[in-house]
């Protein structure tokens, strides 16, 4: 499992690899939690690539409901269809005439109106009733949705079937692989977590982060990669509102390579700090002077002083 994921450029430790393996073996959803930018969404993409299935992504937000998650009737098109049918009926009505013909015409129109042709298939329906192989379903940032949507997910994740009153019940022939992610802006209800395998993704340690930087930014020199990882590791110990995740590290490393930087000096770091730190308050913490000396310079010196 580790090797398969690594081939796709994603480095996992043992416990996450086990969790992913069990997700596939037990056909249970995987619930990933962790700070933003530690690679939760990325993992789902990589799983999809590794098992060779399409990825369907559902981004959650407050107020997400059945219409935008599961299915919706394309009612503007339905209206248009009615008008067209009316127009056609009026022009052809003279010859057909009589009540009974009108009845059957209306029945037929109804049937047409609620046929799959007018169904807008949103991500969850697409996952239950796929056109190809069972996909990997990524339900991103569940914590942003509200309790009602969670309860709705419970039912869907347990049965993998959807009932559309006008059409009937659709059931997944093969269970899709489901990955849920949460940034923990609020606690997701236990009932949902209980149906899933749970894994907390933490910030990586130095060795792992170094490896990730080397894999993701192959143009970077080893020397710079070591310093970049060390600097970010050090930065996470600072009292920041939003600590930089791996996504930020990679972004930063790419920026440094693009600028052609060989060394980490204060000027380069200050120019590119926007890649790592996204809040003004945090920027101020770092660029301010402490005890009369620029703090950033001190951090860099500390990193240089570390033995290789």
């Amino acid at each position: 499992m580790r090797r398969a994921l690594r081939k796709e450029g994603y480095i996992v430790d043992g416990s996450l690899a086990t969790a992913v393996y069990l997700t596939l073996a037990l056909e249970r959803p995987l619930f990933l939690e962790g700070e933003p930018g530690v690679g939760k969404t990325e993992l789902a993409k990589v799983i999809a690539a590794a098992v060779g299935r399409p990825l369907i992504r559902l981004q959650c937000y407050e107020g997400i409901d059945r219409q935008s998650a599961l299915y919706e009737w394309n009612f503007p098109r339905q209206m248009l269809h009615i008008r067209l049918a009316e127009a056609a009926g009026r022009s052809g009505g003279g010859e057909a005439g009589g009540e009974p013909a009108g009845e059957s015409w209306r029945d037929r129109l109804e049937e047409e109106l609620f046929s799959p042709k007018f169904l807008l298939r949103r991500p969850l329906l697409a996952a239950v009733d796929p056109q190809g192989p069972a996909p990997v379903l990524l339900i991103d940032e569940v914590d942003r949705s509200d309790e009602e949507f969670e309860a709705f997910l419970l039912e869907l994740l347990a049965e993998f079937q959807v009932t559309i009153p006008e059409i009937g019940t659709l059931k997944a022939e093969e269970k899709p692989v489901v990955v849920l992610t949460s940034n923990r802006t609020r606690e997701v209800h236990d009932a949902l977590k209980r149906r899933c395998l749970y894994h907390w993704i933490d910030y990586p340690d130095f060795a792992k982060e170094f490896e990730i930087v080397c894999v993701k930014v192959p143009e970077i020199s080893r020397r710079l990669a070591v310093r970049v990882s060390r600097f970010v590791q050090r930065l996470r110990r600072e009292p920041l509102f939003k600590k930089p995740g791996i996504a930020e590290t990679i972004h930063w490393a790419q920026a440094l390579v693009a600028l052609g930087a060989r060394e980490l000096d204060a000027a380069v770091v200050e120019e590119t700090l926007g890649c790592l730190v996204k809040y003004r308050d945090d920027l101020e913490v770092l660029t301010a002077e402490r005890e009369g000396r620029p703090y950033l310079r001190e951090l860099l010196q500390e990193i240089e002083a570390m033995p290789l």
């Binding site: 416990s15 069990l22 939690e33 503007p76 609020r186 606690e187 907390w200 009292p239």
Partner: protein
């Protein structure tokens, strides 16, 4: 457990049965540590075991953790239990239970040491319902009933028993508008899809379906200063918050004096006195000094994005910041960007001559949305009423 197992499955108990009964013992241990493990989880864990290499201890541990632990703290507990269980199987026994109970009793002793002696109030308060029901409430000087007088009494002059009597207040939640919509007869928006669906049933005559925004309870975050100068007030405030929580109103409570402690879990306790003593013992620095700026910074960094965002922030403090009045203002400004509104309840306002001139109070007074008195139970109630009016989202239906 052994006997249960054999009754379930009468086949001869071999090695397999022993493994399973060991597993079950482990699960029971986890359950006692507070992990919610039911039969479905146990079955799933055993199923997972079949997929995992048994000779690799860490793989089994990781797999079971994914199945059995449902959040980060549970995962930590699980690791602890796993190690301990490993020792148990090998035969190394650490007196874990003994240390646990010892620690627990020490904690309880400390809590009781902080309990102030209670004076039972013998005034003409709420009588037992059986006796003297026809009596008119005793009127004392000033034309107020005893309960009414207690309500407006400064908390310094109240005994804990009297505060307990005040708890029967009528409090309703604060509301906010959600982004969710639901069908409603008098909604402002047109629900096109529902209209058409209805038209199919009715035929010729169409009826417009409408929908409206849903109102939801707004969470309030209380930051209660429990420094020495605030001691009589903070107990009353915590009782008030407890009363809110008992009525199903979402609240989060933090107490701070030299550092910030989250005491919300104690609110789940059904016994008010127990909840209060839990809150007191959870804070290691009760009646210490005040470092409000530092506490607010901790709140923002640790809980800002999770709890404060979109909630109402209520500060209860006398504003006597000991350490750094300058950064206090900045911190409040940063928190205000996260919270829906920020209100300061100040016990020191009991004195009509009081003006926020001390540096900390002046900064705080400038920074918050509202600055109201908070010295008596009545003050807290009227503050809550004002907040209710401020958040008027319409009274017709749609409330969750």
């Amino acid at each position: 457990m052994r006997s249960e197992w054999t009754t379930q499955r009468p086949e001869p108990a071999g090695d397999g049965a022993r493994i399973v009964s060991n597993c079950l013992a482990f699960f029971r241990g986890l359950r006692r540590m507070g992990l919610r493990i039911g039969t479905p989880e146990i079955l799933l864990a055993l199923e997972a075991m079949a997929h995992l290499p048994l000779e690799d201890e860490s793989a089994l541990r990781d797999g079971w953790r994914a199945v059995l632990a449902h959040n980060r703290s549970e995962a930590e507990l699980f690791d602890l239990a796993w190690r301990q269980f490993g020792f148990l199987l090998i035969g190394i026994r650490e007196p874990l239970v003994a240390t646990q109970t010892l620690l627990a009793s020490v904690a309880r002793l400390r809590a009781s040491w902080r309990h102030t002696p209670q004076v039972v109030w013998l005034g003409a308060g709420d009588r037992e319902p059986g006796e003297e029901r026809n009596e008119v409430p005793l009127v004392v000087r000033g034309g107020q009933s005893a309960a009414e007088m207690l309500r407006h009494q400064d908390a310094v002059r109240l005994t804990p028993e009297e505060i307990r009597q005040l708890e029967s207040a009528v409090l309703s939640p604060l509301w906010r508008r959600s982004r969710r919509r639901k069908p409603a007869r008098k909604g402002k928006e047109w629900d096109g899809s529902a209209t058409l669906r209805r038209a199919v049933q009715r035929g010729e005559c169409w009826e417009l379906a409408r929908r409206r925004r849903v109102a939801r309870k707004r969470r309030t975050v209380w930051i209660c200063d429990v420094s020495g100068s605030m001691d009589p007030y903070s107990r009353m405030v915590l009782r008030f918050v407890y009363a809110l929580a008992r009525r199903g109103i979402p609240v989060e409570v933090f107490v701070c004096s030299t550092r910030l402690t989250r005491v919300t879990p104690a609110l789940a306790n059904r016994d008010a006195d127990r909840a209060l003593s839990d809150m007191v013992s959870a804070a290691p620095d009760w009646s210490g000094g005040t470092r409000l700026a530092r506490a607010l910074q901790t709140l923002r960094l640790e809980w800002g994005r999770r709890i404060v965002r979109g909630a109402g922030l209520i500060l209860v403090t006398d504003g006597l910041e000991a350490e750094d009045p300058g950064s206090l203002g900045e911190e409040i400004q940063k928190l205000r960007k996260l919270a829906a509104w920020t209100v300061w309840l100040n016990p020191a306002l009991s004195d009509p001559e009081y003006r926020p001139v001390a540096k900390g109070s002046a900064v705080l007074h400038e920074a918050v949305d509202a600055h109201w008195p908070g010295y008596s139970w009545g003050c807290l109630e009227s503050a809550w009423r004002q907040l209710e009016q401020k958040e008027n989202v319409g009274r017709v239906g749609g409330r969750r």
